[in-house]
Structures are given as structure tokens and as C-alpha cells.
């Protein structure tokens, strides 16, 4: 079993990039909706669902790498960010469902702006080598 990306970080691939891009696209879409006084539409909820799937896939890839013996630079922080990350889209979903006004869209926008930051922090906590 040879891992092609043995030296690379498991959270620095296409999935991480896709999650960041998708999250920002949803954020912009939600911002436009909020500015136009629109409640969260189906596209926003669909976007959140796809984002959650991508983030879960990212988490699985990270866990597989861990099972394969790779270790993040700061394990505690890494798991903290990983758990937080997969909780973000559901949080946005629930709050946006409770608020079927423009402010629901604003919530989706805010959460989708935070998610990319968490992805980047996740990558940083993996890459720090040593203690």
C-alpha cells in the first residue's frame, strides 16, 4: 500500500479547494439574496447540503490518513477544527430554516464565510511539524 501523496497533507487536495470555492459561491449567492430581501431559497439549501457532503468527504480522507499512520502537527486543534467544520452547514441550515426572511440568507452568508477560514486553519494545524 503506497500512498502517492505520502508527503502531502490529506486536507490540502481537491476536496479542500472545492469546499472553499463552493462555500464562497454560496456566501455570494446568499449575500445577493439578502440584499434583494429574499429568504433562503432552495439553491442555498442545496448548496449547504453539497457543501456538507464535500466536508464529510474531507473528514473521511483525513481520518483515513490518520488510520494510515499520518499525524497532524497539532492534533488537538486539528480535531477541533474538523468537528467544527462539519457542524457549520447544519448550523446554517437549521438557523436559516427558522428564519425565512432576508436575515436567513444573511445567516447562510455569514456561516459560509466562516467555513473557508476553518478549512485553511485545518490545513495549517496539519502542516505544523513538531511541537
Amino acid at each position: 500500500m503506497t500512498s502517492a501523496a505520502a508527503a502531502g497533507s490529506p486536507v490540502d487536495g481537491i476536496l479542500a479547494t472545492a469546499s472553499i470555492v463552493l462555500s464562497l459561491v454560496i456566501a455570494i449567492w446568499a449575500l445577493v439574496a439578502a440584499l434583494r430581501h429574499r429568504a433562503p431559497d432552495r439553491l442555498q439549501f442545496a448548496g449547504l447540503a453539497v457543501l456538507e457532503v464535500v466536508l464529510l468527504a474531507l473528514a473521511v480522507v483525513a481520518l483515513v490518513a490518520l488510520a494510515g499512520g499520518e499525524r497532524p502537527g497539532e492534533p488537538g486543534a486539528f480535531f477541533g477544527y474538523l468537528v467544527t467544520l462539519v457542524c457549520l452547514p447544519p448550523l446554517a441550515w437549521v438557523l436559516a430554516r427558522m428564519e425565512p426572511t432576508r436575515w436567513g440568507s444573511a445567516i447562510v452568508c455569514a456561516v459560509c464565510l466562516v467555513a473557508p477560514v476553518v478549512v485553511v486553519r485545518l490545513q495549517q494545524t496539519w502542516e505544523v511539524v513538531g511541537g
Binding site: 488537538g76 477541533g80 467544527t84 438557523l95 427558522m98 428564519e99 444573511a106
Partner: protein
């Protein structure tokens, strides 16, 4: 409760819900940061880490206060936002004046610059929102 002459508007609707969402995000961020710091290296900077924990607690209680939306909830939120504002300004000044006081970062160090200054703006928004909702719309 009996109907009062000028009932307060709910703090947990509309923009308030966005505010609660941001408070929840900061509650998560501060709680995990404080938990990790205290669990792994408490001896290095106990003051900074206890401050992180206090900040985390305040964010949680503020979110609950805004979410409850009743009279007690408002007072709870008012107290939290006030403490938060004083805390972020005081810690901001202290952390710049004397770096040794807070050897490790907290949510409130340098006026919350590590978090895009949101910790500084958030209590102001909270207080503004409480002020805006103090009376029902005519």
C-alpha cells in the same frame, strides 16, 4: 406576563437571529480554543487561558440571552454584551501596552485582530440591537 404599555420586540427574530448565529460561532471558537489551551498547556499562560474560557462562557450566555428574548433574556444579553465590550477594550489595550501580560493569544488580544476584529464589533452590534428592540414597532 401581563401586557405592558410598550412591549419589547423579540430579540430573536430577523437580524437578531443573525446576531445569535455569529454569537454561536464565537462561542464554538472560544470554547474549543480555551478547552484545548487549558487541557494541553495550562501552566504556560493560565491568565490568558482562563480569560479565553471566560470569553467563551460570555458568548454562550449572550447567545442564550438573545435567544430567550424575554425580559430576563434581554437583561442577560445586556450584561454579557457590556462585559464583552469592556473586556475586549481592556484586554486590547493591556495586550498592546504590556505583551508579557498575555503571553499567548486570547480571543480578545489586540482588540480581537486574530478574528477580524469581530469580537470588538459584536458587543456593539448586540447593544445596538437591544436598544433597537426596546420598544415594539408602532
Amino acid at each position: 406576563m401581563a401586557e405592558t404599555r410598550a412591549p419589547e420586540r423579540a430579540t430573536n427574530k430577523g437580524p437578531g437571529r443573525l446576531l445569535i448565529a455569529i454569537y454561536i460561532l464565537f462561542a464554538i471558537a472560544a470554547t474549543s480554543r480555551a478547552g484545548l489551551q487549558i487541557a494541553t498547556r495550562f501552566g504556560e499562560a493560565p491568565v490568558a487561558y482562563l480569560l479565553s474560557a471566560a470569553a467563551a462562557l460570555i458568548y454562550i450566555v449572550a447567545a442564550v440571552g438573545l435567544g430567550r428574548a424575554g425580559h430576563a433574556g434581554r437583561r442577560l444579553a445586556l450584561a454579557c454584551c457590556s462585559v464583552e465590550l469592556v473586556g475586549v477594550v481592556a484586554v486590547g489595550i493591556l495586550s498592546i501596552a504590556d505583551k508579557k501580560l498575555f503571553p499567548d493569544e486570547t480571543v480578545w488580544s489586540d482588540f480581537g485582530s486574530g478574528y477580524g476584529y469581530v469580537p470588538l464589533v459584536l458587543p456593539m452590534l448586540g447593544l445596538f440591537w437591544l436598544w433597537r428592540t426596546r420598544r415594539a414597532p408602532a
